[in-house]
Symmetry: C2
Subunit: 228 residues, 2 copies
């Protein structure tokens, strides 16, 4: 009667609120210490320690020791995608953790999704890239066009070097706040890195929020216009 893999183990790991909060914090892409994760989960360090070892043996987390610190990250991109897609589902079912607070609008405007840009700005960027013919959207698949490759080169992104990596260049990722797709993959990562290098955007510590400077926002909106 029991066929196939056991999803209950993974579900139970994510099903505890403290663990879920720690995983959500790690969706920010940064490696975090046990102490930081304890704060994110709203629990003491002892409790966090047992949770973290469960998550690690369950294959959801990876850790590396560095001095007396222990840095945790999501095990791989597959886990990140799972968490994100669960957030999408949770949002669509109205499972919310928060009274909409002051930080929420910023989060919906622009935030980190593992290693790329999400939120209103992330969705707008992908829409604009598709509209301008820089990216072809076929079904759920995304591919950079020749035009896109040269346009991105002008911004300072070398697409051909990104292509050589194992990781897919483009990937669409469902946005939980916008309920629309934004750009993930190595190109999504490179674009966000590019904005931060230029000083257009910076991360808020202890949060997934990404804040654009006034000038950065102006440039971003000019670079990725919306269709009329």
């Amino acid at each position: 009667m029991k066929e196939g893999p056991d999803i209950a183990q993974i579900g139970a790991l994510i099903g505890d609120p403290a663990r879920a909060n720690m995983l959500a914090a790690l969706t920010g892409g940064r490696a975090l210490t046990a102490t930081e994760l304890a704060a994110a989960g709203g629990i003491t360090l002892q409790t966090a320690s047992t949770h973290l070892s469960k998550l690690e043996t369950g294959g959801l987390l990876a850790q590396r020791k560095q001095g007396r610190h222990r840095y945790f990250t999501l095990a791989d991109e597959a886990v990140a995608r799972l968490i994100e897609s669960m957030m999408g589902l949770a949002a669509s079912r109205g499972h919310l953790r928060h009274q909409p607070g002051p930080k929420d609008p910023a989060l919906r405007k622009a935030r980190i999704c593992y290693d790329h840009l999400a939120g209103d700005f992330g969705v707008r960027m992908l829409d604009s890239l598709v509209a301008s013919g820089s990216i072809d959207a076929i079904g759920d698949g995304l591919a950079v066009t020749a035009k896109g490759e040269s346009d991105l080169q002008c911004i300072g992104i070398d697409v051909s070097s990104l292509k050589s990596s194992r990781r897919p260049l483009c990937r669409s990722c469902l946005d939980w706040s916008e309920r629309r797709a934004h750009l993930a993959g190595s190109l999504g990562k490179a674009l966000l890195a590019n904005f931060m290098e230029k000083g257009w955007a910076r991360r808020i510590p202890e949060s997934r929020s990404v804040i654009f400077s006034p000038e950065g926002e102006r440039q971003f909106l000019k670079l990725f216009p919306l269709e009329a």
Copy 2:
């Protein structure tokens, strides 16, 4: 500190073994009654009843009453995709529910994944369609080519009528047994329906297994050859 949607609720729903087994059973695509799901979960009807109402209020299940029966299905395709992707992750992390039993090989060979064909045969079919130029694979995206459209017409599938539906024509779905992509979307559904109409394949009751007749298997393998 609490940002974004609450994935813990959904995780907890999936995290109970009985509920996970019921959800997995529903991945077979059939609507099942509370009694059938109780058997799938290995619990009594009373316990199943409470589980099912939790899953329904949690937004994972939909139900329709029909006489004195109550038929449950997964709420929508998004839920089905979540369950499937969790199976993929669980399989890759070695979370298995079973001692590899006699039914297992059949399941790996061909099975239902919500409404389309998965397992070795499902993966082979997509590989062959891509190799023959009937489907273009761009990143994770799949698109039917002109050649594919006419080839499929010969088999008895009218692609243009499928296109008119809201649902994506092609979608790639990660296979937990093969760890490779197979074909989902309305075309995946139509192909499986086509095989069953022709008598090539039939479903096994109470299981996700799909059994091909000797003749059906011969035809299938001929229609979807592997690259040398």
